[in-house]
């Protein structure tokens, strides 16, 4: 079975787009070939700086012959209908067959040569390729990521001939820009192609290029007794920048090592795409770097290493300039500058944000065991470095530089640490701060972001989360859980919303009239009118206060629901059953620590025999109640008429439920969830016995009523621990 080899050869493709382009090429071509009826055994793609390559093995020579029957008009239909059908099918009346008074046409379509299908598929793929950004060149109209120069398209051993906007397909490609022969060469098939490319100093496969870089980089370091600081993102990028990657060790001026190591590493990485090098003896940066060149220089890379070292020095000189200037400038000037920096058009300047964070950090401090004055002070300094020269140059160093500059200014370590780490945790794998002061500032920072954007209705939707609110919420959750911070979130949120909504209104940033109108259905006419008056006339009236409270409450609920979703995702990722999370959330608790403890206790309980059986009993009780509710109203909840209890089993259950209620309440009050579960466990035997020995639907009305009440009590006492109706499986 023939093989298809397709290469799209262009000027240099941005490194970050190569992997995606390979996937797109694979998808678009195989979809089109499959849609045309060409099956295949295997398709592989490769991407590099100058070429995208697709090889498909095991294609047939042609698409299969097709035969299909088309249903036409009824034989009794007017002639025009038949004529139309004949035109559509291209047949004559004699070629049709008649069945049950209806005309049928049999259409036979001969298979098409695969080469023809391939040519069309390539044409469509190239013209509609989903590059993140594409361009025209010269006088042409074709779009590609950079000028497309050649198309190799070989099927079997033949060139599939076509032309896309003046680029004729062929079997010739080119090798490495500098190390190759400089002459185009013809290829027969994939093996031949891959081999000739290697001779021409091109490694086709990105994985192979990465392996070569890593191996080479480790080796040049080891030769000097040093260690490579590995960096997967950088490796990926440099593998997309060279067709024949060659790592070379360069030396840098050791004087730059007194700059913060983060600065040195980032300067190397972002500007120069160098790997940093570590000295294993002291585990600090060594005065070296690894550059991955695209050539094997004839002098062994001497000139190249020296050149790169010179450039790095210039870069680090710049960094040192920022460092020195920043030390001279200092926090007061930066804080002043933040007054002119807009955080968000509706949420005001960075300085205003800093004020909010400082107030919030002060409020949170007692909850996390931090000193309120210190928390406020640290929060006030936390964003200052955004105005520094270094962070202007390297935004990734936000916080980190603040920490360095504070230490240099003689600030207390706890405050410098809080400023340094307050952006943490940045992702699901990032470390969570534990120092109380840091926790206070980190929470204040994230909560202000969340409350602010929820206040102006900038909530994440679908895949869009431009302000990274999901990450912020997850950050809060992890900070709270991992530090055991006990806080009634809803009250905390409501208070913040109240403050910010008031501010937004006072600064005329929120279109309140519209907001009030939008709320009309949910808050009722009277309140809405009141609020509308408040908005229009004065913000000091009682109506305004009522409106703000209502609005803050609504937003707080909204944000809490958002947190609930994030917590569910987090717990699910930790392998906790999401139905158990739902069962606990249904209780409406807003203390994350308590919620998680409850989920854990519930999980443990359900894993026991008692738990599983009691769950079954619960369902049975709930089902009976549901069924009975359909027949007519259930009896009002109330005390059991002990005298009307006729059977031992029901009497036993009544006593047990009453006991369980007392025990569960005591345990819950003490937040002893395992204890609460244990109290429920003691219900198992009486519940089982009850269903065994008692018929709920007694003919005697008072008996039936009593028994239904008993089941309601079982349901209710269990419902104090979790909503068991949410539990699946």
């Amino acid at each position: 079975m023939p093989q298809l080899l397709l290469e799209l050869f262009s000027e240099e493709i941005p490194a970050r787009m190569q992997a995606g382009a390979a996937r797109d090429l694979h998808r678009l071509m195989t979809e089109r070939l499959s849609a045309a009826g060409l099956a295949f055994e295997q398709a592989r793609v490769f991407a590099g700086p100058r070429r995208l390559t697709l090889v498909i093995d095991g294609l047939p020579e042609a698409t299969p012959d097709l035969s299909e029957e088309l249903k036409g008009p009824r034989t009794s239909a007017p002639d025009q209908a038949l004529e139309g059908f004949l035109r559509k099918t291209g047949l004559t009346r004699e070629q049709l067959t008649e069945r049950d008074g209806v005309w049928f046409a049999e259409i036979n379509r001969a298979g098409r040569p695969a080469a023809q299908v391939i040519a069309e598929a390539v044409d469509q793929t190239v013209r509609a390729f989903p590059w993140p950004k594409s361009m025209r060149w010269g006088s042409g109209t074709l779009r590609w990521v950079r000028p497309l120069k050649r198309i190799v398209c070989v099927f079997g051993s033949e060139v599939v001939a076509f032309d896309i906007d003046g680029i004729a397909s062929g079997d010739e490609t080119q090798g490495h820009r500098f190390l190759g022969s400089g002459q185009p060469f013809a290829v027969r098939d994939f093996d031949d192609y891959r081999h000739k490319l290697e001779v021409e100093r091109v490694i086709l496969d990105a994985a192979q290029r990465k392996a070569r870089i890593l191996e080479g980089a480790r080796a040049v370091c080891a030769a000097k007794g040093l260690e490579l600081v590995e960096d997967e993102g950088l490796l990926e990028e440099v593998a997309g920048l060279a067709e024949w990657p060659t790592p070379i060790l360069g030396a840098m001026d050791p004087q730059f090592l007194d700059l913060p190591p983060e600065v040195v590493r980032l300067s190397m990485k972002t500007h120069q795409k160098y790997f940093a090098v570590r000295d294993p003896l002291n585990d600090r940066l060594a005065p070296h770097f690894v550059v991955v060149a695209n050539v094997e220089a004839s002098d062994g890379g001497m000139a190249l290493a020296a050149g790169n070292a010179r450039v790095l020095s210039a870069r680090l000189n710049d960094a040192r300039f920022f460092w020195d200037e920043d030390l001279k400038t200092g926090f007061d000037a930066w804080l002043k500058k933040l007054e002119g920096v807009t955080f968000h058009a509706k949420l005001g300047t960075m300085a205003e944000r800093v004020e909010r964070i400082a107030a919030l950090a002060r409020e949170i401090a007692p909850l996390v065991g931090a000193d309120p004055d210190q928390a406020e002070q640290a929060a006030r300094l936390a964003k200052a470095d955004l105005a520094s020269g270094m962070v202007g140059e390297f935004p990734e160093l936000q916080g980190i530089m603040g920490g360095y500059y504070l230490r240099a200014a003689g600030s207390a370590d706890a405050i410098a640490d809080a400023v340094r780490d307050h952006y943490k945790p940045q992702g699901p794998n990032d470390q969570v701060p534990t120092a109380p002061l840091t926790v206070a500032v980190a929470l204040a920072d994230k909560l202000d972001t969340l409350v602010g954007f929820f206040a102006i209705d900038e909530k994440p939707t679908g895949s869009k989360d431009p302000f990274a609110l999901r990450r912020a919420a997850l950050g809060v959750i992890r900070l709270v859980l991992e530090n055991g911070v006990r806080a009634p979130l809803r009250a905390v949120f409501t208070l913040r919303f109240e403050t910010i909504i008031r501010q937004l209104h006072q600064q005329g940033r929120a279109p309140l009239e519209a907001a009030v109108e939008g709320l009309r259905p949910s808050i009722g006419e009277v309140q809405a009118d009141q609020a509308q008056r408040a908005v229009t006339w004065t913000d000091r009236s009682e109506g305004f206060a009522v409106w703000v409270l209502g609005e803050a409450d609504e937003k707080a609920r909204d944000l809490l629901a958002f947190f609930a979703d994030r917590l569910k995702v987090l717990l699910r990722d930790q392998g906790k059953r999401h139905d158990l999370v739902d069962a606990v959330f249904a209780l409406g608790d807003d203390d994350l620590v308590r919620i998680v403890r409850r989920v854990e206790a519930l999980e443990a309980f359900l894993a026991t025999d008692d738990g599983a059986n009691l769950l079954a009993g619960y369902r049975r009780a709930a089902n009976i109640l549901k069924a009975e509710a359909k027949k007519g109203p259930l009896p009002e909840a109330g005390a059991i008429d002990l005298a009307a209890l006729t059977l031992d089993d029901e009497r036993a259950l009544a006593v047990s439920v009453a006991q369980a209620r007392t025990d569960v309440d005591a345990a819950l009050h003490a937040e002893d969830f395992a204890g609460a579960m244990a109290s429920l466990a003691r219900l198992r035997a009486p519940v089982d016995a009850f269903f065994e020995g008692v018929l709920v639907n007694s003919d005697i009305a008072s008996e039936r009523e009593n028994r239904l009440r008993l089941l309601m009590q079982v349901r209710d006492v269990m419902g104090r621990v979790a909503d068991f109706s949410q539990i699946g499986g």
Binding site: E12, P147, A242, V295, S298, N308, N317, T342
Partner: protein, 295 residues
């Protein structure tokens, strides 16, 4: 590197000869202060419309905020760019460009030449293009761009634009670490002897000297002038777009001076840039009409 490395002026002469031989008109610097060689009307305006065009020239670039009083070995508030524009871009523009590097003594088998993604954009003139920064041993020596739009207008024909950073390139070729140590010619003259004093004085003026109110007044005057000139007509009935564009350049430079003086609040910044962009767009729109009529 082969023999004696080129002096700064020989580097310029070599590039001029190289591109002159490839059909470029060798123009002289534009006599209005600009922040980048692209802003010379020979590039930004000629990139519009359907007529072919090839030109090369040296252009002094003024970046008032980049001045370092002559104390930083790599940063200058006045430096030179060598600008090449080829419209439509030839198929082998990359190869021609590499040929120019060879001509000034950079051997691609000894050095690491890379085309690193760079989507070029100049918001003040509403221009954008796709291309690369060309790196030589990790240093950006050239901006290589395929123009896609100018003044907010999509180009009819794509131009290839090369912007060589002459000082950096010369430092590289000569192997010096400090720009002021560059050999300006082969007669012992250094770059520092030509420009160091200029950097000192201009830096002080840029950061502390100019009268901010005066700059603002002049900015407003220039803006008014652009609108007036565009409303006038030349002998053939055309709007006076070329003189109007000169005033846009002047306004743009005044903005850069105000910026260096720290006189532009963050909130105002976008509004200033927006005004310049709008003026530029007005010139570009008018110019492209005129050019299309000249085919």
């Amino acid at each position: 590197m082969t023999t004696e490395p080129l002096s700064f002026q020989d580097l310029i002469l070599t590039l001029q000869r190289y591109w002159g031989q490839r059909g470029c008109a060798l123009l002289q610097p534009y006599d209005v202060e600009v922040g980048a060689g692209t802003l010379h009307p020979a590039t930004v305006l000629r990139a519009l419309g359907p007529r072919p065009w090839k030109a090369a020239y040296v252009q002094p670039s003024r970046r008032p905020g980049d001045g370092r009083y002559g104390e930083n070995p790599n940063r200058l508030q006045h430096y030179y760019q060598f600008q090449v524009i080829l419209k439509p871009n030839p198929d082998d523009l990359q190869e021609q460009y590499l040929g120019s590097l060879a001509a000034i003594g950079i051997d691609p088998k000894l050095h690491d030449i890379r085309f690193v993604e760079d989507d070029w954009e100049n918001p003040t003139v509403g221009a954008w293009g796709l291309g690369w920064e060309v790196w030589c041993d990790g240093m950006e020596v050239t901006q290589f761009t395929y123009f896609q739009g100018v003044g907010g207008i999509e180009v009819d024909v794509v131009s290839g634009e090369l912007t060589y950073g002459l000082e950096r390139l010369a430092m590289y070729v000569q192997g010096v670490d400090n720009v002021y140590d560059l050999k300006f010619n082969n007669d012992g003259l250094t770059y520092g002897e030509v420009f160091l004093e200029n950097e000192r004085q201009q830096s002080e003026a840029n950061f502390h000297g100019y009268d901010v109110d005066g700059l603002k007044r002049r900015f407003d005057d220039m803006v008014a002038e652009v609108e007036r000139l565009l409303a006038m007509q030349g002998p053939q009935g055309q709007a006076l777009v070329l003189p109007a564009y000169d005033q846009v350049l002047k306004a743009s430079h005044l903005f850069n001076l105000m910026d260096a003086r720290g006189a532009i609040a963050v909130a105002e910044r976008q509004s200033y840039i927006g005004r310049i962009r709008d003026l530029c767009k007005a010139c570009a729109t008018e110019w492209v009409e005129q050019e299309r009529g000249r085919v």
